[in-house]
């Protein structure tokens, strides 16, 4: 397939998945035991409100027709109303999206900044002490529960050193940045263990590649061979790995937002589960799934654009 054609066709291939996501989230809420209208309204279940919900979602109609109404509402940007906050779910999510978005982006950037030097150290000392040390650290690091690691960082940086705020989210830009340092460092440390392992493998392979041999034959110093030829080539698999792990990253954000009391989408989801605010749970699950699909799509396109070796 031609490159440009791919960029156009790839999004279309994701349409069935988006359709599937809507079916799964629809089924999820229909599986709640009891009368859905009553459950969705919670304590506010007055007869008129129940009748309204029944009409809006066609709850007396056959299942396929209910799904059709659900989809129609969805395409109009209506995901129902939150019981707890009494506003539209989509609006609610939009007010909470900023901290989550910044947290995810900062974590990705930080994890790359941690993983690249670690992997470089290991790959350039392949089979020697530094290599083994990095392997042990990254193997052990995978098992660090992020919620606990976050608390340990709070003890170190906030309690003992008094450098950073313990939790919450600020109003001004400076305060926001200060509040997001520890949470993003927590996620980045977890993510970088996985990144380091695969980056190291890609770099070791790169050092043995024809490109590297040819560069050495031209008299290029090893340091230049590494940073100019090996590292850029190992970045493409890293982009893919980040995309594969985006679901994991978002899951980690959900937990970390609760640890640090950051008012993002993750904390919204957890609170919605506790307060049985099902429309919010459904909306958040859908938005995060769509975000995952979108990021994978972007990664696919970036990979194709960045690496002429990729075969379609």
């Amino acid at each position: 397939m031609h490159r440009y054609k791919f960029v156009l066709y790839r999004p279309i291939q994701f349409l069935p998945v988006l359709f599937g996501i809507s079916v799964v989230t629809f089924v999820l809420v229909r599986f709640i035991p009891g009368d859905p209208a009553r459950v969705l309204l919670g304590a506010r279940a007055t007869p008129t409100a129940i009748a309204n919900i029944r009409r809006q979602y066609g709850l007396d109609e056959p299942m396929w027709l209910q799904y059709f109404y659900f989809l129609k509402n969805l395409l109009n940007g209506e995901m129902g109303k939150s019981i707890l906050y009494k506003i539209d779910v989509l609006k609610l999510i939009l007010t909470r999206i900023e901290p989550t978005l910044v947290l995810v982006l900062a974590s990705v950037v930080l994890s790359v900044l941690i993983a690249v030097p670690m992997a470089a150290l290991a790959a350039r000392n392949h089979g020697r002490f530094a290599d083994h040390a990095v392997r042990v650290i990254s193997t052990a690091g995978i098992g660090f529960p992020p919620f606990w690691l976050g608390l340990m960082l709070i003890i170190l940086f906030s309690v003992n050193l008094g450098l950073l705020p313990v939790s919450g989210y600020g109003e001004t830009l400076g305060a926001k940045v200060a509040h997001l340092v520890l949470p993003s460092l927590t996620i980045a440390l977890s993510l970088s263990t996985v990144l380091t392992r695969s980056l190291r493998a890609a770099m070791v392979e790169g050092l043995r590649s024809d490109v590297a041999t040819a560069a050495r034959a031209r008299g290029m110093p090893e340091r230049v061979v590494f940073w100019r030829h090996v590292v850029p080539n190992s970045m493409v698999p890293t982009i893919n790995l980040l995309a594969v792990n985006i679901g994991w990253l978002i899951g980690g954000t959900v937990v970390i937002e609760s640890v640090f009391a950051i008012p993002g989408i993750g904390q919204l989801l957890v609170r919605a589960i506790f307060s049985r605010d099902y429309m919010v749970v459904q909306g958040v699950a859908m938005v995060l799934a769509c975000a995952t699909v979108l990021i994978n799509l972007i990664a696919d396109i970036v990979t194709v654009a960045a690496d002429p070796r990729v075969k379609l």
Partner: protein
């Protein structure tokens, strides 16, 4: 001729294991945790849920090596009893998805066609969701608790195993011995489960070890959030959550359960990595 004389490749499994220090190391950690879980009533110095107001928030000492929490409960005893729950989370949270995924993957790979297409589209859809978000959403519907966690894991976790097994079965079903089994007139069930599956399963077994790490972390995280194991049961994730309000003064309540998670996860990782090397399975 005895098997040993032929050389390394045909050496008995005892010999091969002996040459795998990483495998032995990982196995030792895991066995140690299993022993602690079995012997918890005998090795834990105190009752894990008995409250004692006289020894609230005491720092580690000879009487309480890991200190006490805000209810005066002995943290060491709670960590020891926690092994039972967290080991169970890692094992049960992997076994159900493993069985379901293996069955689906074998059937989808063997039959191909519409069955395969349907299952693989379902896999794509489930994988589109962030894992933890889908698990949390299912727990939201079923209500908090460990049972809901296992059901959610079974509903979501099988996809990785199904993909792994399916890919193997697709390759193996055109191998000579599979074709031979077909021409001998063996039933499809027999070919699938007696001939193909045993050869296809190595990769999944290795994967299940790194999966156990993720399941343990997710299970502990869900309990930390208050949606899994419920108090007063001693479980490491809850213990971290219970210690959080006291991290400025009583760090020991959060430190030790977290370290236990790290140790158990490290055991699974080491064992899984070494097993992968020993079986020649690439990630």
């Amino acid at each position: 001729m005895s098997a040993r004389t032929i050389g390394g490749k045909w050496m008995g499994w005892q010999g091969r294991l002996g040459r795998q220090p990483a495998l032995m190391f990982g196995a030792t950690i895991l066995i140690a945790f299993v022993l602690i879980a079995l012997l918890a009533p005998y090795v834990s110095p105190y009752d894990p849920i008995l409250q004692n107001a006289e020894v609230r928030l005491q720092a580690p000492s000879w009487a309480h090596p890991f200190g006490t929490d805000n209810f005066g409960r002995d943290v060491l005893s709670r960590v020891i009893w926690g092994v039972r729950i967290d080991l169970q989370i890692a094992i049960l949270g992997v076994i159900f998805p493993f069985i379901i995924g293996t069955l689906v993957g074998t059937v989808a790979g063997f039959f191909g066609g519409i069955v395969d297409t349907l299952f693989m589209r379902l896999v794509d859809i489930i994988l589109a969701f962030p894992f933890l978000v889908l698990v949390l959403s299912i727990i939201a519907i079923l209500g908090p608790g460990l049972g809901s966690f296992y059901i959610a894991m079974a509903l979501v976790g099988w996809v990785s195993y199904a993909r792994l097994i399916r890919a193997q079965v697709l390759v193996l079903k055109s191998s000579d011995y599979a074709v031979a089994a077909v021409s001998l007139g063996f039933s499809r069930t027999r070919i699938m489960f007696r001939h193909l599956l045993p050869n296809a399963i190595a990769g999944s077994v290795v994967f299940s070890m790194s999966d156990a790490v993720l399941v343990l972390l997710n299970g502990a995280a869900i309990s930390y959030l208050g949606l899994g194991v419920q108090p007063p049961i001693a479980e490491w994730g809850i213990m971290v959550a219970e210690g959080q309000p006291f991290i400025t003064t009583a760090w020991w309540i959060t430190l030790f359960p977290g370290l236990s998670i790290v140790m158990l996860a490290f055991g699974f990782s080491m064992f899984g990595d070494a097993l992968g090397d020993a079986l020649g399975v690439k990630e």
